[in-house]
């Protein structure tokens, strides 16, 4: 309880820095997730139609998962320098596999009979995609996006190690100063962000589904 009170005081004393770190953290996670979605959902749709190509590509991207996030961050330094770009790239790489694998699986999973019926009714490729495939694939695609979001939000804490800022700054500071309250200033908001991303994306999924069906 004492730690929480001290944490609160610390936030109050460092308001501007806290808000800035929060903003950077959100920006890092948001941009990485956004790029991963823009890249991987279309790629997943495309791969679902090209099965011979799909296996090697999916395997390659899955292999990315084996590399720890911290290693990706440090490996990016020689190529991208010590700046936010390196963090964006590393976090995006981290978000790619769940989004791609789920998108691919989701669109593969739309029953052939349903797609054939839709085409047989006279839907064109876009109508098939928007009215049939996307709504049916959405739950699985969104699960991938939610996984990626949680992963990216928590891994963005590591951006501090390459000087990219974010809430990880407080964790590193707290650790170096042996100060639990300062560590909590980073850790608690990160946990809350991860949690609210789950809730937010879950809500979005429901609204999107409802919208697409109509």
């Amino acid at each position: 309880m004492d730690a929480l009170r001290q944490m609160w005081r610390y936030v109050g004393d460092n308001q501007a820095f806290f808000v800035e770190s929060l903003r950077i953290h959100l920006q890092l996670s948001g941009v990485a997730l956004g790029i991963a979605i823009l890249l991987c959902v279309p790629l997943g749709i495309w791969l679902a139609r090209r099965l011979t190509l799909a296996t090697p590509v999916i395997n390659l991207v899955s292999a990315l998962r084996v590399i720890p996030s911290l290693a990706i961050l440090f490996l990016a330094i020689p190529y991208l320098g010590l700046n936010r770009t390196a963090a964006f790239v590393a976090l995006t790489l981290l978000a790619l596999p769940p989004v791609l694998i789920n998108s691919y699986a989701a669109f593969r999973g739309v029953p052939a009979a349903v797609k054939e019926a839709a085409r047989g009714m006279g839907m064109n490729t876009w109508q098939l995609l928007w009215q049939i495939e996307l709504p049916l694939a959405l739950p699985v695609v969104m699960t991938g996006i939610r996984t990626a979001a949680v992963e990216v939000i928590s891994s963005a804490a590591l951006a501090t190690f390459i000087g990219a800022g974010g809430l990880g700054d407080f964790i590193a500071r707290g650790f170096r100063l042996s100060s639990t309250p300062i560590m909590l200033v980073g850790a608690i908001p990160i946990a809350l962000l991860a949690l609210s991303s789950e809730l937010l994306l879950g809500g979005l999924q429901r609204r999107l589904s409802a919208h697409l069906v109509r």
Binding site: F74, L82, T160, F161, I162, G163, R173, R176
Partner: protein
């Protein structure tokens, strides 16, 4: 980062070696002494110097190098788990004794910490080396020359154009940025980057991602990369001179320890210590070899 790994391996190896040596040879004529150190290059090198000189003078030495932070070493020393380790004057004063410095004069501080330790812990400080491994701010020679930047007061004027990269604790501690600002004025930077690892801080400086970096006076990188340490012209940072410290009782039992170790002190100025550190941090030479070569070169040790 990767420089840490050989160090860790080395620590493990040395611990192992020390253990074996003990089991096989037993006590030397004069008995066994355990040397400890903190876990960075300078401390490994100093620990090795102490150990090698004592061995050359008939002691059996057990090495506990790279043990950890000041707290750990202080406890180990008081409880007799180690006998000697290198400590810095202002660390002893501020972190262990938790006293305010009576003055900023290095001799006065040495005397204050020596008296304090003797009284509180019955620990004695041998002769201090002249080098000052204090906190510092450094810039590249290029930046220094282009901007005529050699002191922290000058930095305070120009800071708005410059980006600083610093260790996480630097932003919070009274002997970090808050203390600097209290003494030198507002000093706003164009950007403040928090960088956890020292290696990465220097890398960022050399890559031009930052302009000013936090450093320690004897960091090997200062010489290795030809950096300029900004003069602390208003003396925020107290002197950090190193000396071997040990229990008074140990010294009473082995009076020659002081005669054996004190000759090292005068040889170690800022430049020399930085060069030795660079051999470990920059050139990946083992600390025991760096120590041995140095001692032989200075005639304190005979070549084999």
């Amino acid at each position: 980062m990767k420089k840490l790994i050989p160090l860790l391996l080395l620590t493990a190896m040395l611990t192992l070696l020390a253990a074996c040596g003990n089991a096989e040879t037993g006590d030397g004529e004069k008995g066994t002494l355990t040397i400890g150190s903190k876990n960075f290059a300078e401390q490994f090198i100093l620990g090795e110097m102490y150990a090698q000189l004592l061995e050359a003078n008939g002691y059996t030495v057990e090495r506990q190098l790279g043990l950890g932070s000041t707290d750990i070493l202080q406890t180990a020393l008081v409880e007799g788990e180690i006998d000697i380790y290198p400590e810095y004057t202002s660390t002893g004063l501020l972190t262990v004794l938790k006293e305010e410095a009576v003055s900023s004069d290095r001799d006065a501080i040495y005397q204050q910490v020596k008296d304090g330790y003797a009284e509180r812990f019955q620990i004695t400080w041998l002769d201090p080396a002249p080098f000052n491994n204090t906190q510092a701010l450094a810039v590249t020679r290029e930046t220094s020359e282009a901007r005529g930047l050699t002191t922290i007061s000058q930095l305070a004027v120009q800071s708005a154009d410059l980006r600083i990269g610093a260790a996480p604790e630097f932003f919070e501690r009274e002997d970090g940025l808050p203390g600097l600002r209290a003494l030198y004025g507002e000093m706003p930077f164009a950007d403040e980057k928090q960088l956890d690892s020292g290696a990465i801080r220097y890398e960022a400086l050399l890559n031009g991602d930052i302009d000013v970096v936090t450093a320690y006076g004897t960091d090997g990188q200062i010489g290795g990369y030809d950096l300029v340490v900004l003069e602390d012209d208003k003396a925020l940072w107290p002197p950090y001179q190193v000396a071997p410290i040990l229990l008074q009782s140990t010294l009473d039992d082995h009076a020659d320890i002081a005669e054996i170790l004190n000759p090292i002190a005068p040889l170690l100025d800022d430049r020399t210590m930085a060069e030795l550190n660079w051999q470990v941090d920059g050139e990946n030479i083992e600390p025991d070899e760096v120590a041995r070569t140095f001692l032989i070169e200075k005639g304190l040790l005979e070549s084999e």
